[in-house]
Symmetry: C2
DNA sequence: AAATATCGGACTGTGCCAGTCCGAATTCGA
DNA sequence: TCGAATTCGGACTGGCACAGTCCGATATTT
C-alpha cells in the first residue's frame, strides 16, 4: 500500500524525539522508549539500526545512549527511510535491476523510474527539523517545500 | 519499503497493455496474459479487481473480456494504485485514523500528512497514457509534470 | 570490580502477499 | 435451444517478510 513498515514509522518518531531534546547529549534506549511510549526492545533495535547507518552516534557504558550524528536540519526523511528499510523504490526493478524477467520489453519501467525520483525528491526535501517541530511553527517556514503543493 | 506490491505492479502493466491496444474492444484475460507474459490466473484476478473498482468494464460471454472504462488520458496512476491496494498513505494513521494509541501526542503526524499529499499529487499527475507510451514520446510532452523535477 | 549501556545476532509467531482453483452466472454463436 | 467461452465471486494454501523478544559479549563510567 505504498506504506512504510510500522517499525520504520517508529524509527522516525524516535529520531524526532531525539531532535526534540535539543541537547547533543546521548539518551539511552529506556528513556527514549518512555518518551515515545514504545516497548523498549523495539526502540533498542531501531536505534541500533539507525546508528549502524550513520544517522545516530552510539555511546556505550553507564552514561551511554544515542545522539544525533548531525544537526536535525541536515538529516532528511529520505535518508531516514533508506536507513530503516533500504533503498526507496516503488517497483522491484528500480531497486534490483535485472531480476524481473521482462525488463527488456517493459514499457512501463521508465515512467516508474521518473515517478520514483519525484517521490524520493519530495522525501529528501523534508528535514528532521521540520518533522520535529510542532505543526504550525516549522523551522524554515519560507523554504518548507511542501507548503505550496498542498491544498 | 515504500514499495507497491508485485501484484499492483502487474496490474498497472496490464492497464498499460490495454491502453496500448488502442481500440475500445474488450480483450480477454488469456490474451492479455500472453501479451504481458504473466500467468493467466494472476491476470484474471487483477482484471477482476480493476473492473470491480470501475477502472475497467467487463464483458461476459464468448467474446467477452475487459476494456478501459475511460480514455487513457483520463486515468491516472494514483487511481490505479488506490484501486489495486487501497488508499495511498505512507503511515497507518493517514489511512486509519484512531487506531494508533499515541495519535494525540504524536508530533510527526501532521508533517507526514503533508508528505502523503505530495506523493499522492505526484502520482495523480501521471496518466495511463503517459505510462503506456514509449519513454521518449509522451502524449503531452509539454505538460508532463515530472520532467522539470528530475535531474 | 560492579553497574549500566550498547552491540550483534538468533529466534519465533503472526499476518499479509502471491498464486491457484472451482462452481455459478452470463453471453455469444450455431 | 444448446453448448462453448468467458467473467464473477469466493475460498484456499504456501511462503515470506515483518514485528517483537531475548541473550551473551563488549565497552564505559563510577
Amino acid at each position: 500500500m505504498i506504506r512504510l513498515s510500522r517499525l520504520s514509522d517508529y524509527g522516525i518518531v524516535l529520531m524526532s524525539h531525539l531532535a526534540g531534546f535539543g541537547d547533543g547529549e546521548p539518551h539511552n534506549a529506556r528513556e527514549i522508549a518512555a518518551e515515545a511510549s514504545l516497548p523498549q526492545p523495539v526502540v533498542s533495535k531501531l536505534l541500533k539500526a539507525l546508528a549502524r547507518q550513520g544517522l545516530l552516534e552510539s555511546h556505550r557504558g553507564t552514561k551511554g545512549g544515542y545522539s544525533l550524528a548531525r544537526r536535525p536540519e541536515e538529516i532528511n526523511a529520505a535518508e531516514m527511510i533508506t536507513a530503516l528499510e533500504g533503498p526507496i523504490g516503488l517497483t522491484e526493478c528500480t531497486v534490483h535491476p535485472g531480476e524481473c524477467a521482462q525488463e527488456a520489453s517493459c514499457h512501463v519501467r521508465e515512467p516508474w523510474r521518473r515517478i520514483n525520483d519525484v517521490v524520493r525528491a519530495a522525501l529528501a526535501e523534508v528535514s528532521l527539523a521540520d518533522l520535529a517541530q510542532p505543526p504550525r511553527t516549522p523551522t524554515h517556514p519560507d523554504t518548507l517545500p511542501l507548503a505550496g503543493n498542498v491544498g
